[in-house]
Subunit: 331 residues, 4 copies
């Protein structure tokens, strides 16, 4: 009964189906019929003109998106627990050719305009200090918390005022959108680029980088190739994404994962370290309690010394979820 992560979950049958249907020779790279549908698919989804590129990982998606905003001598501001800072093996430094990440604080791994201001206001103008060029946030955040449309709009307005691009790491964008139950565009309101994650949500190996200024995508196509991310059988990448977007599968899967997390969260009660809004549950528990849970067959990560992180996936089995909820209640 694994609640370690959603990142290794199964691939949804509908994704397999469209991938298999794509298995006849077509133009290589992103010249195939499916890849050429992507821009229109995201344009329809977000209700505004988009350009979208597939890549194999969220790390590549995030870094390519940021590369459209941050020059080598610049910086992006992110939360100090952001995935790009903590878990991408230094990829932003690689893709941005040495640009910096500036670290802001904030509850729930979310950042607000004043937290960004606290980081960038002390930066002296001029060449001695690295100047900010973008803000990167994670929707849902690394603690499974969701920016509300109003929070996003405030950040976007702040970013615009300061001349900063706004990037949304949407590794779990679907979970955030499902939680908000709003138009997809509202769940990333004001973003210039979105890393739209599918792998954690039923896909196999395709994420999308969505540019809300289609012009910005042009240069990134060169950067994607240069990073070795332009797969020759790109049709299988596009297939995954199109399958996920078809009939709202991305939302359905996210709702399933969120519901599982909510059930666990409800059982956790006062142990919760963060509100359960997406598909992650952080709960306070001792080493002995964690051992007890593991003894009952539950897999999850420790989160520091006194806590555990439990992640639900789109395919979480109801009986596993209920068993976990019961086990937590019984601690």
């Amino acid at each position: 009964m694994q609640f370690l992560s959603d990142n290794a979950a199964a691939v949804h049958p509908a994704v397999w189906k469209v991938m298999m249907a794509a298995d006849s020779a077509d133009a290589p790279y992103d010249g195939d019929a499916l890849s050429r549908e992507l821009d229109a698919a995201f344009t329809a989804l977000f209700g505004r003109e988009c350009a979208a590129l597939w890549v194999a990982t969220g790390t590549a998606a995030n870094c390519l998106a940021l590369a459209s905003m941050v020059p080598p001598h610049g910086a992006a501001v992110c939360h100090r627990e952001a995935h790009i800072e903590m878990d991408e093996g230094g990829a932003p430094g690689f893709y941005l050719h040495g640009a910096k990440l500036l670290l802001a604080g904030g509850e729930q791994a979310k950042i607000a305009p004043d937290a960004v201001a606290a980081v960038i206001d002390p930066i002296r103008d001029g060449v001695h200090q690295v100047q900010p060029h973008a803000v990167s946030i994670t929707q849902a955040s690394e603690y499974g918390c969701v920016y509300r449309p109003g929070e996003l709009s405030a950040l976007a307005a702040f970013a615009k005022e300061r001349g900063l691009g706004l990037h949304v790491d949407g590794a779990r964008f679907a979970n955030a959108a499902a939680f908000l139950d709003c138009a997809p565009a509202e769940a990333c309101a004001g973003a210039d680029a979105l890393s739209f994650g599918f792998v954690k949500n039923g896909g196999m190996s395709a994420e999308a980088v969505v540019f809300f200024d289609p012009e910005a995508a042009h240069m990134i196509r060169f950067r994607r190739k240069r990073a070795g991310h332009l797969q020759s059988k790109g049709r299988f990448m596009a297939a995954q994404i199109l399958a996920m977007l078809e009939d709202g599968l991305w939302l359905a899967n996210a709702r399933a994962a969120n519901a599982a997390a909510a059930e666990i969260g409800a059982a956790a009660g006062g142990r919760l370290l963060h509100p359960v809004e997406a598909n992650e549950v952080f709960l306070s528990c001792t080493a002995a309690e964690r051992a007890a849970l593991r003894g009952q067959g539950f897999g999850f990560y420790d989160w520091g010394d006194g806590a555990a992180r439990l992640v639900t996936a789109w395919d979480a089995r109801a009986e596993h979820v209920s068993a976990l909820a019961r086990a937590i209640s019984a601690l």
Copy 2:
């Protein structure tokens, strides 16, 4: 009837099968059972200890392999028509942090020790000129020609004498090995690292970087992650590779592609610009002749003004191949 490239061909059913069998949650990244089999699988194949990493593209494979040999202030020598020089969008410059490619000549897009020497001997020792650290060759070459074991050994001896690493871009290594009909290890004799291609030969999206010095792989694992190439559902990458290695599927597929090319090459006779050894045919033909072939439904690339490139894939249909051979004979 497409002979444009092998890079967008279908995925072999056996690959699909193993991929689908891999679709239950396992450890993420390369901690899954299949990924952990890779080292042993290549060790068995090559009869010496290997460490192998999957990546999604040949570009990433080549660049990561070279990154184990070439520091940012160094250079690699390759043929002036090498894929890394001509077709990878500058990826070596990115992955190697600005290191150079030094370009050597040679018939059939192959390079010999004297061609490498001609490039590096004039380089003055010292800091003013970029010093070579590696040689990179392509097996089979960009013109579909195959290095014989003796040629490889001579290059390897030369490289060793000069303190250079030896990298083999094996995007079509299977076709070369099939042509040579020798032990796999002989087909890349003396290499320090091999980019072992599977995508053109029946795979979907997985290539292997094989290090013959397993120690060298350690640093490259960091570089792979940093390049955004560490997929979370890596089990599907490993599955493809293991499926291809199983029961010699990689060789069987390559033999099929080679046989198709041979049939076309035999029909081309005196038009051949290069011997047909792998699965590519370069033939001299006028624009009118190319138009005539296209008029009969054959797809292929022009190769400059007076030639055509035809590539056969593992799934080339016999009737298409025969039709093309007849059409060429009839020109």
Copy 3:
């Protein structure tokens, strides 16, 4: 009466003299007689075999030194107020090809083993998080405080135990050594590389990167050239450094600057934010007090809202120093 910084002070007459004496053609770059003396000069000074390279700025010196220790996918730990983090315009990201700086805390802008441990102990082993490869400290620190030999030895032992290189940014190494009044080697005990500053201390445009493992210098010679820092008339660089080392001029100048700071510090009394050990004085004072000082003709930088930074140079005029001391006493 300027106490803004020591970085734009006059050039010492002895430096001018040796520079002018160097003005006859010699071998270019670092092949001249003076440049070839550097290794021996530092070897004599430190009592152990050294290799030394001149460069024009402390930024270049620091980054080249770190480049000998930190691979592109790695990190160096430094104080969060370290010059390399705060004031070098992102140069470490450039020279280290995207490697990270990990930020530690500590009083007086100094870091201790436990502060480094607090940063690196939580880093998970493996490729997802950037691994530390070096520690960089500043001697004297950015707050004008000096690491004692015992502190250095403890850090060096810690670094060695953890497999980390130790770099000392010695932009004001002379001031630290003068304060410690010990053998130069003790003032950077355990360092693998030292950026030995001369520009702030009477030089014009030459700093030295000193490698205590001479082998490490080899690769850095390539990096220096590649960074455009190999000047063709290098003899003028070496001349500055040799002039400073001659007869202990570097220490004499530093003592003069330190004495001036001590006089000011003594007058500041309880206003001092940090002990005055080198040539910088940080004192608490209101905006009105700062305005009053400026009204009397003293130039200096604000340090946040409620403090001022005053820096003395080797050529501080006694009457200016005394006047400032009196003015501060009278606040």
Copy 4:
């Protein structure tokens, strides 16, 4: 009697004089009075608005200029014997973050529009091949030959038509301008940026990067700092440049060097491999002849097996020049 290079020649007394006059504390970096004169000085010289930055080496100047034109995924076209390709230790790869140099041919180390076209016309549009963004030429060329204003205008028109920036490496721009005896602006007609060399022509350690679009300089100020090239006592850099520009010293020095080369060239007669237009003489001579010249006390570089390169500097002594001319005549 050294004719090895002009790059280690003496510093002109007028340069020393202005440097020494600059030796009182002023604002650091480029905030001093002299540095703030540079834009105006070059604006006056070229008769159009310029922005100019000092740097210590031609390598840094060239690379910073190119960085204003070429993105990391792009390329610059230069002659295959260009200094940036052959002698800068890979600095363009470093400063341009992995961008490529594409190599064109041409007599006298000069390139013409058709040579550039021959390189870039075969480049397929799209992401697989690195796209050109700039052309870089050397004035005077690496063989001491000078682009005529008409040649420059033709190149500039071509570059503009193709959307390429035009960079002029003017390590010996003074020699070219002296030869052309035209307005300075004509000697670099159409350039977007000029690396204006002073070190070889009587300076000590200061070159200028001149941007004819002052906006372009903004970003490069960040890049200069980031490369460790923003010296704190920048006033000494500016002083050198202003001294050289004062009363046309730069042209007077260049004329002296050119005259010396002309005298030698006249003596060389039919041995000349290239016309002597600036201050370099390439002459055909056997190993025995070279030994004979060296036996008479002349220092110079071999240029391959059957030639010698002789370079005259601004301070070439008339008797040495005459002696060399006689010795060559007598061969």
